[in-house]
C-alpha cells in the first residue's frame, strides 16, 4: 500500500527521517533502513538539511527504493532554479520517488557553505504550482511533457513561535493546500497537550496532518532547544526527567516513544526524527508500541 | 573464632576500583589487610568460575569491585559482572553457603575512602560469617584449607 492510499484510508502512517551521508559511504543509511523496513511506511530524505551539504535527496530516495522502501524527498528553491528542479522531479518519478515534501530551505548562513549563493528562483508556493503543472503534463514554460509524472506532495509547516505566528502559519499553510499540498507536516513541539492543540488547528485544513517527534539525546540538547526554540515548548520537567534518569539515552528513547503513543490517535501520521541516531529508531518504535 | 582473620579476594577493575585502592593508600586510609586485590581490566572479565575457584582455593569471601553503574569504561562490563556475582550467590545458596560471601561493589576511581570503608565492611561481614565452610580449625588455632 502506498503512503497516499494508506493516508486516504485513514490508517496511521509512520515515517522516519534519514539523512543521506556527507560522502559516498551509504552503508549506515542502508543498514538503518533495513532494520526498519517492515515497521514503517516511508522514509523521509531531507535534501541538504539545515544548509549542510550532503548527498542529494534524489539519490537517497533512489537508494530507499532499491531497498524496497517508500521514499519521500524534500524539495525547496534555495539551491536549484526551476530548470534543475523540474529536471530532478522528472528524474524522481522515473526513479520511483513519488512522495514530495515542499520545505523552506534553511538560511545559507546557518549551514556549512556560508559563502554559497542562494538561488531562490521559486518559493514554496511556486514549487507547488510547478508540481501541479508537471502533474498535468506541462512544464513551467508551457511545453508539453512526454509522459506525465505522478506525485503525492505535501508541505512542511515552519516551526511555530507563538500563538500569533500559529495563526499566520495556518494562513500560509492554507494557501499551500489551496495550491495543491496534499498533506502537511508539522514541526515538533515537546509539550504534548499544546502540540495537540496546534495539530487540531491544522486539521481544519482538511488534509492529512503528520506530526513530528524529534528525539532528544541528552540534557545539553534539551536545554539548548528550551532556550533557543521557545516555540517548541520544551518543558523543564522533561529536562529534569532526563537528568534524573539512570540511563539517559534509554530515557530519551522512552520519551520519544511516549510522545508517539500520545500522538498516534490524534494525527494521520507521525514522522520520527532521530537526527543522526537512526540506529536507535527501532528502539523508539518498540517504546511507542509500533 | 575471635582471632579469625578471613582471607578475602577482591577482583578490581583497572580503571576504577584498583585506582580507588591506590587512592586509599595514597591518602593513608587504613583498611583491613585481609583484602588482596587481583587486577582485571574490567569486572566484565571476571568469570563466575574465577570466583568459585577462589572459594575452592580457600577464600572466605570474594568481591568484585568495578566502576559505578553506567560509568563502566567498557560500557556495561560492570553490570555483566553483577549478574555473574548473582549467579555465584545462587550457587552458594544451593550449596548451603552464605550468599553474602560474595558481593559486587561499585565505585569510582576517586573514591579512596569508599574503597577502604567497603573493604572494612566486607571484612567485618565475613568475620561475622566465620571461616569458609571448607576450612576446619586445627587444634593450634590455625586454619587450613583442606585440599
Amino acid at each position: 500500500m502506498t503512503l497516499q492510499t494508506k493516508l486516504s484510508k485513514g490508517d496511521l502512517v509512520v515515517l522516519v527521517e534519514m539523512n543521506t551521508p556527507k560522502g559516498v559511504d551509504i552503508s549506515d543509511l542502508v543498514t538503518n533502513a533495513r532494520h526498519l523496513k517492515s515497521r514503517i511506511d516511508a522514509v523521509v530524505i531531507p535534501d541538504m538539511d539545515n544548509g549542510v551539504m550532503h548527498m542529494s535527496a534524489l539519490a537517497g530516495g533512489a537508494i530507499m527504493r532499491q531497498q524496497g522502501m517508500e521514499p519521500m524527498i524534500h524539495i525547496y528553491g534555495r539551491d536549484r532554479n526551476r530548470m534543475a528542479l523540474q529536471g530532478d522531479m522528472l528524474a524522481a518519478h522515473v526513479l520511483g520517488i513519488h512522495n514530495l515534501l515542499v520545505v523552506q530551505g534553511e538560511n545559507i548562513a546557518h549551514g556549512d557553505h556560508q559563502n554559497a549563493k542562494p538561488v531562490d528562483d521559486l518559493n514554496e508556493l511556486d514549487l507547488l504550482v510547478m508540481v501541479h503543472s508537471l502533474l498535468k503534463g506541462t512544464d513551467l514554460a508551457g511545453f508539453e511533457l512526454k509522459g506525465k509524472p505522478e506525485f503525492f506532495t505535501g508541505y512542511q509547516v515552519q516551526p511555530i513561535q507563538d500563538d500569533d505566528h500559529l495563526e499566520e502559519e495556518i494562513k500560509t499553510t492554507k494557501a499551500k493546500v489551496d495550491a495543491g499540498a496534499q498533506y502537511i507536516m508539522v514541526p515538533p513541539v515537546f509539550d504534548i497537550d499544546y502540540y495537540i492543540q496546534i495539530l487540531n488547528k491544522f486539521k481544519s485544513l482538511n488534509v492529512p496532518v503528520i506530526a513530528t517527534v524529534f528525539m532528544l539525546k541528552n540534557v545539553g540538547m534539551a536545554r539548548y532547544i528550551s532556550i533557543n526554540d521557545p516555540g517548541s515548548k520544551l518543558p523543564e520537567s522533561l529536562i529534569t526527567r532526563i537528568r534524573k534518569a539512570k540511563d539517559r539515552e534509554t530515557e530519551c528513547i522512552r520519551i520519544a516513544g511516549e510522545m508517539i503513543k500520545e500522538l498516534k490517535s490524534q494525527v494521520a501520521g507521525i514522522k520520527i526524527s532521530a537526527s543522526g541516531w537512526e540506529d536507535r529508531l527501532p528502539a523508539i518504535l518498540d517504546c511507542a508500541g509500533l | 573464632m575471635e582471632n579469625f582473620e578471613p582471607e578475602i579476594v577482591a577482583f578490581c577493575c583497572h580503571y576504577c576500583a584498583y585506582t580507588a585502592a591506590d587512592m586509599a593508600g595514597s591518602k593513608r586510609i587504613a583498611y583491613p589487610p585481609n583484602v588482596k586485590i587481583i587486577r582485571v581490566p574490567c569486572t566484565g572479565k571476571v568469570d563466575a568460575i574465577h570466583i568459585m575457584k577462589a572459594f575452592e582455593k580457600g577464600a572466605d569471601g570474594v568481591y568484585v569491585a568495578g566502576c559505578l553503574e553506567g560509568d563502566c569504561h567498557f560500557k556495561n562490563g560492570n553490570t555483566r559482572a553483577k549478574y555473574r556475582v548473582e549467579q555465584v550467590q545462587k550457587y552458594l545458596t544451593d550449596l548451603g553457603w552464605e550468599k553474602d560471601r560474595v558481593a559486587m561493589i561499585n565505585m569510582s576511581a576517586g573514591m579512596g575512602e569508599f574503597f577502604a570503608s567497603t573493604a572494612l565492611e566486607f571484612t567485618q561481614n565475613i568475620k561475622q560469617l566465620g571461616p569458609s565452610p571448607i576450612k576446619h580449625f586445627n587444634t593450634d588455632g590455625h586454619q587450613t584449607a583442606v585440599s
Binding site: D49, G220 | P33, K45, D71, F74
Partner: protein, 1016 residues
C-alpha cells in the same frame, strides 16, 4: 648503569628549544616538547635535575611523596631521542632572534665521568666532608646525590674541597674520576628559550625577631620538609634539631618575609605558604602523632586554589589544627631547654598572650636571587618591580623578548600545579617558533630484538623496593626477599632500594642478563604509575614487556596498613605469591597499533577554548571548535578590564577574528555534543549543530574541554531585589560604561565570599578579591571621595595582586572582616540599602547606608553541562562539579581518560590570564599525543581458539563494541585492532574458547594459587 645518550639530532628538525632550569617546571616543559618530538636542550646549573620539588617531603592534597611521581618522567628511554640533558651548565649569552637564537653555554667540570660512575658511594665514604646536602641541615659527602632517584645518576665532586686527588681516584673502583676535568664552552642553535629557574626561598636569618638561623628549633618550611623526609637528615623521623626529640607542640608563622611588614620583607604574597603550612601540620599529625599540637599563626588564610578550601576545612575540623589570626611579634628561646615562646595578640580580646612551643616553623616565601636577575639581564628580558620576569598580561609565559618564554616561580610565586600548567604552556608557546608539529617525521625506536622464551623453563627474578621508608619502613624487605627466594622458579631475589631509580634499574637490567632471567617481578608501588617504566626495562634486556609483573606493595599495602606491620608483612608475602605465580604464566605479547587521527576537538568557544584552538591550529592541526552559544567569546566577553588595567574587549575581538579566520579552525557555534566514542587518538564525537540541530560526527584524536563555569548568582544579601545591589561583573560594566553614575556614589560596600566558601559551594572562587580591588581602585580613580567598604573573610590577593590590596588600603578603602557564622546583613528600608556588620576590631555592630552594594559572587561550576559531558566522556568531577584532572599536582590539565584535556574555568575558577595559560598548556599537552602517528592499544586483546569455538554467537552479542563475528571457517573472530580488551567475551564464552591476552584464565588461576600458597 644509566648512560646519558648522545643525541642524534634529527636533521630535518634540528632546531632545538633551550630550557634553562631543571626543576619540575623545566622538566615538564622539556618532556612535553620531547614527547611532541621536538628537540630540547635542558640545562641546569646543579649536578642533577629535580629542583625544589624533589626536596619536599609530601605534597598536598594527596600528601603523597612525589619523588616517585616525578621520577618516572625523568628517565623514559624513548624520550631521550629528543632530550639532551646538560647538568652543571649555565647560559652565558643569547644572541639572535626568535626562531634563530645562538646560545653560549658553559659547563662546569664534574670531575666524574657520568658514563662510568656507578654511584656506588665509595668515594663519599672516604671524603665525607664539604658539600652540603640539604639546605642548612645536613653537611654531607663531597660526592653526593641530592636525592636517591637523581638524574643523571652520578656523583659530582667539589674539587676545591678535595685534599687528596690520588686517594680519591684510588677509591673509585669504576675509574670514573677525571681530576683534570675543565670548564667547557659550547654554542647551540635554538629556536626559542624557556626560562624556568625558579626562585630562592627567603632566608629568615636577617630577621632578628624570629631568631632564624640562631635558634636550633626555629626552622623554615623547607627545612621542616627535609626533616620529615625519608631521604632527609633524620631518615624521616620528626625530631627537634636541638635534642633529636619528637616535638609535642609545633607552631607555624605565616608570611615571614612576605606581604611587606618588616623592612626585609617583600611586598607581594608568596602564594604557596598557607597551603604548605597546612600540609606540614596535617602530615605532622598524620604521620607522627595525633597528639602533636599544631598551631598556625596567619594573617589571611589564602587557600584560593582548586579544592584548597576543603583541605583547609579538613585541617581545622578533622585534624584539629589550631588557627590563630595574628602576626606574632617575636620568638624567644629558652637557652637551656631550647624551647621557644611566642608572644602574640589575640584579635578578638585585645590582649597579648605568651605561649611555649617545641618547634617553630617559619613559612618563608619566594624571592628572586641575584643570579637569576643577572641571567634575565643576559637574556635581555624585562623584570617587573619585584624582579620577577615581566610577562604579557594576556599571556603569562611571554616575556618582553620574542622567543623567550618563562614558566614557574620566576614568573610569579606559584605552586606545583600552576608551575606544571605554565610549563606546558611555555612548551606550547616555544613550539610555535619551530616547524609545525604535523611536519615532523617520526623516528622509530630501536630496541634489541626480542628473545623467544616460550620454550624456556621460567627463570624468575624478584626485585623488591624499599621506596625509602615507604615500604621498608613498614615491612621488612629482607624477609620478603627470603620469602620470594623459596618460590619455585625464582632464580634471583633481592632488595633494590628505590627500584625506579636509575641505578636500581641498571642493576635489574644487569641481573636479567647475567642470570639469564626470562621473567621479572618488581615489588614496589602501583603498576598504574610504574608499569611502563619497567616494561621499557624489559625491552632493553631483550625480553618482551609483558614478562614483568608489578606487585603493589606500597599503595595497596604499606601505605594502607602502616599501623599493622605484622599483617602488612603477611599480606606482602601473599601479594608476592600472586605476582610470582602470575608472571610464571606470562607470555610474550605484541601490542596492537592504529593510526592516529590528528584532528582536535575543542569544546567551548570562550577565551580558553579559542586560545587552545588557535594554538593547535597554528601547529598545523585541524581543530573543530564547538560552542553551544550563537557566538564565540564566552564569559570573558562580558568583562571590561583586567586588574592590570588592560581592556578585555579589543583583545577578545582580535582573538575571535583570528580564530574565525584561521584555515585550520572549523568553528561550530550553536552546537551541542550528544555522543562520544572511540579511543584516545581515534575519538568520534556526535554533535547537533546549527539553529535546526543538524547532526554531525567529528573524528578527532584529542579533546580539549573548555566549557567554562557560570557566574554565580546566589540568592543572598538581596541580590536581584534592588537596583543598587549588583555583582562585581555588573559593577565592572557600570564603571566602564557609566562613570557619571560612579561619580554620584558616596558609600560603596562590597561583600566578599557571597555564595562562595559556603556549604553548597564550599570552595573559594579565587577571582573575587582581585575583582573587588580592581573595581575599588577604579571607583577611587573616578570618584576619589567615594567611601569604599570591603567586607571580607580573608583577603586572598595572592602573588602580585597584593600590590593592589596595598594600594587600596593606601587609598583609604575600609576593610572590615566578618566570620562565616556572623555574616553582614542587608536591609532595604524605604528603597535605601543598608549593610549591618559586626566590626571585630571595634567590637560593635555598624551600619553603612550605601547606594552601591557590590557582591563578590564569584563562579560556580556549570553542573548541568559538566554532568552531561562527564557521562558522555566518562570523566570524573569534583564534589562541586568541576572536572577532576588526572593528577591534581602533576597533571593538572590531563584527564584520566588519555587524550582528553581540560582548561579554563571548567577546571576551577580563575582569571582570564590564568585561563589563557591553561589553554596553552592544554594545547601543548594535546600536541604530545598528536605528535605520534600511531596509537598503541596494548596487548590485552581477546583471542579465539577456533578449535574450541562452538559458534554460539554469545561473544558476538555480548561484546559492548560489536567486534566479534563468525568467520567463514565457522568460528568467532575478533579483530585485535578493534578489540578494546574488556574481556566480557572471554568471561561469557560457554566453550572457554576465548582468552583475554595478558589476563588469561590460567594466569588468574595461578594468581589465586599464589595467594593461597599453592603452586600451580
Amino acid at each position: 648503569m644509566q648512560k646519558l645518550k648522545n643525541i642524534q639530532h634529527d636533521k630535518s628538525n634540528d632546531r632545538s628549544v633551550l630550557v634553562i632550569g631543571g626543576g619540575v617546571g623545566g622538566i615538564r616543559a622539556a618532556l612535553d616538547l620531547a614527547e611532541s618530538r621536538r628537540n630540547v636542550i635542558l640545562i641546569d646549573k646543579s649536578y642533577s635535575i629535580g629542583g625544589l620539588m624533589t626536596q619536599l617531603d609530601r605534597t598536598f592534597p594527596t600528601n603523597n611523596c612525589d619523588l616517585c611521581t616525578v621520577s618516572p618522567h625523568l628517565s623514559e628511554n624513548t624520550r631521550q631521542i629528543h632530550l639532551d640533558l646538560q647538568p652543571m651548565t649555565q647560559l652565558e649569552e643569547l644572541t639572535g632572534e626568535a626562531g634563530n637564537f645562538t646560545a653560549t653555554l658553559v659547563t662546569e667540570p664534574r670531575y666524574i665521568d657520568i658514563n662510568k660512575c656507578t654511584a656506588c658511594g665509595e668515594c663519599h665514604k672516604y671524603f665525607p666532608e664539604a658539600v652540603r646536602f640539604t639546605p642548612g641541615l645536613d653537611p654531607r659527602a663531597p660526592t653526593c646525590m641530592r636525592y636517591p632517584q637523581a638524574t643523571p645518576y652520578a656523583f659530582s665532586i667539589d674539587m676545591e674541597k678535595v685534599t687528596d686527588i690520588k686517594a680519591l681516584q684510588k677509591a673509585c673502583k669504576a675509574d670514573a674520576i677525571i681530576p683534570d676535568d675543565v670548564q667547557k664552552k659550547t654554542t647551540v642553535e635554538a629556536a626559542s628559550v624557556i626560562l624556568s629557574v625558579g626562585a630562592k626561598l627567603f632566608d629568615p636569618a636577617v630577621l632578628d625577631n624570629f631568631g632564624g638561623g640562631l635558634f636550633d628549633n626555629v626552622v623554615t618550611g623547607l627545612e621542616y620538609e627535609r626533616i620529615m623526609s625519608a631521604s632527609g637528615p633524620f631518615q624521616g623521623d620528626l625530631v627537634r634539631v636541638s635534642d633529636k626529640k619528637r616535638p609535642k607542640k609545633v607552631a607555624w608563622i605565616q608570611c615571614v618575609g612576605s606581604r611587606g611588614i618588616n623592612k626585609a620583607d617583600v611586598p607581594y604574597c608568596s602564594g604557596v605558604c598557607c597551603m604548605y603550612a597546612l600540609k606540614e601540620a596535617i602530615v605532622t599529625k598524620e604521620r607522627f602523632a595525633e597528639s602533636i599540637e599544631t598551631t598556625i599563626f596567619y594573617m589571611d588564610m589564602r587557600t584560593y586554589g582548586k579544592d584548597y578550601e576543603l583541605y583547609y576545612n579538613r585541617a581545622k575540623n578533622d585534624y584539629g589544627i589550631r588557627m590563630i589570626r595574628c602576626r606574632p611579634h617575636s620568638i624567644v628561646e629558652d637557652y637551656k631547654t631550647k624551647d621557644l615562646s611566642i608572644t602574640y595578640a589575640v584579635e578578638e580580646e585585645a590582649l597579648t598572650k605568651t605561649e611555649e612551643f617545641d618547634m617553630v616553623v617559619l613559612s618563608t616565601g619566594f624571592r628572586v636571587g641575584q643570579t637569576s636577575i643577572d641571567l634575565m639581564a643576559r637574556l635581555g628580558i624585562q623584570l617587573n618591580p619585584h624582579n620577577f620576569a615581566e610577562t604579557d598580561h594576556f599571556n603569562s609565559v611571554k616575556t618582553s623578548r620574542p622567543g623567550v618564554y618563562v614558566c614557574g616561580v620566576i614568573e610569579s610565586p606559584k605552586d606545583i600545579p600552576e608551575t606544571m600548567v605554565q610549563a606546558s604552556a611555555a612548551a606550547s608557546m616555544a613550539a610555535t617558533d619551530l616547524p609545525a608539529i604535523t611536519d615532523i617525521p617520526e623516528i622509530e625506536n630501536d630496541f634489541m630484538p626480542e628473545r623467544d622464551v616460550s620454550k624456556e623453563e621460567p627463570r624468575i627474578g624478584v626485585f623488591i623496593c624499599d621506596c625509602g621508608l615507604e615500604i621498608g619502613g613498614v615491612v621488612d624487605v629482607d624477609k620478603m626477599v627470603e620469602f620470594a627466594e623459596t618460590r619455585a622458579h625464582v632464580v634471583v631475589s633481592q632488595a633494590v632500594g628505590y627500584g625506579c631509580s636509575s641505578d636500581s634499574m641498571s642493576m635489574i637490567e644487569a641481573s636479567v642478563k647475567t642470570n639469564n632471567l626470562n621473567r621479572v617481578v618488581i615489588g614496589g608501588c602501583s603498576p598504574r604509575t610504574h608499569e611502563t617504566k619497567f616494561q621499557d626495562l624489559m625491552r632493553r634486556t631483550g625480553l618482551n614487556k609483558y614478562l614483568v609483573e608489578i606487585v603493589n606493595l606500597r599503595d595497596q599495602n604499606t601505605w594502607a596498613h602502616m599501623g599493622q606491620p605484622k599483617e602488612a608483612l603477611d599480606k606482602a608475602y601473599k601479594l608476592l605469591g600472586i605476582g610470582i605465580n602470575g608472571v610464571r604464566k606470562s607470555r610474550s605479547l605484541t601490542d596492537q597499533t592504529l593510526p592516529m587521527n590528528q584532528n582536535a576537538l575543542v569544546v567551548g568557544g570562550g577565551v580558553t577554548g579559542m586560545t587552545a584552538a588557535l594554538q593547535l591550529a597554528r601547529q598545523g592541526i585541524k581543530v573543530y571548535l564547538v560552542e553551544r552559544n550563537p557566538g564565540l567569546g564566552g564569559l570573558a566577553k562580558s568583562i571590561r578590564k583586567t586588574i592590570e588595567g588592560d581592556d578585555v574587549g579589543p583583545f577578545m575581538n582580535q582573538l575571535i577574528d583570528d580564530v574565525s579566520a584561521h584555515e585550520n579552525v572549523q568553528v561550530l557555534t550553536r552546537s551541542i555534543i550528544v555522543d562520544h566514542s572511540g579511543i584516545p587518538g581515534r575519538f568520534k564525537t556526535g554533535i547537533q549543530t546549527g539553529p535546526r540541530m543538524n547532526y554531525m560526527q567529528l573524528d578527532h584524536g584529542v579533546t580539549v574541554l573548555a566549557t567554562g563555569a557560570l557566574p554565580n548568582r546566589p540568592d543572598v544579601y538581596g541580590l536581584g531585589t534592588h537596583d543598587n545591589i549588583i555583582d562585581q561583573l555588573e559593577l565592572d560594566a557600570v564603571i566602564e560604561d557609566n562613570p557619571e553614575k560612579i561619580k554620584a556614589v558616596n558609600n560603596v560596600v562590597m561583600i566578599q565570599c557571597a555564595g562562595s566558601r559556603e556549604p553548597d559551594n564550599p570552595n573559594c572562587s579565587r577571582i573575587c578579591c582581585q575583582a573587588a580591588m580592581k573595581n575599588a581602585l577604579r571607583i577611587k580613580a573616578i570618584n576619589p571621595d567615594a567611601q569604599i567598604f570591603i567586607l571580607y573573610r580573608d583577603i586572598r590577593t595572592y602573588g602580585f595582586q597584593e600590590d593592589y590590596y596595598r594600594e587600596a588600603r593606601n587609598l583609604d578603602v575600609k576593610f572590615i572582616r566578618f566570620s562565616a557564622d556572623n555574616k553582614p546583613e542587608v536591609k532595604i528600608e524605604n528603597d535605601r540599602v543598608s549593610v549591618f556588620v559586626d566590626d571585630i576590631i571595634l567590637g560593635r555592630k555598624i551600619q553603612i547606608e550605601t547606594n552601591c552594594l557590590a557582591l563578590s559572587t564569584g563562579m560556580i561550576a556549570d553542573d548541568e553541562n559538566t554532568e552531561d559531558l562527564s557521562m558522555m566522556f566518562h570523566l570524573p568531577r569534583t564534589q562541586d562539579h568541576y572536572f577532576l584532572e588526572d593528577h591534581v599536582k602533576l597533571r593538572p590539565v590531563d584527564m584520566s581518560v588519555r587524550g582528553i584535556f581540560i582548561a579554563g574555568t571548567v577546571h576551577s575558577p580563575k582569571t582570564i590570564q590564568e585561563s589563557i595559560t591553561q589553554a596553552h598548556a592544554a594545547a601543548g599537552r594535546a600536541q604530545t599525543l598528536l605528535a605520534k602517528k600511531e596509537i598503541n592499544l596494548g596487548a590485552a586483546v581477546a583471542k579465539v581458539d577456533g578449535s574450541k569455538c562452538a559458534a554460539c554467537l554469545i561473544c558476538v552479542r555480548a561484546c559492548p563494541f560489536s567486534i566479534p563475528f563468525i568467520n567463514e571457517d565457522g568460528y568467532s573472530q575478533i579483530d585485535p585492532a578493534k578489540c578494546q580488551g574488556c574481556g566480557v567475551c572471554a568471561a561469557d564464552c560457554p566453550a572457554k574458547a576465548i582468552q583475554l591476552l595478558a589476563y588469561e584464565d590460567d594466569q588468574i588461576m595461578a594468581k589465586l594459587d599464589g595467594l593461597f600458597g599453592g603452586i600451580n
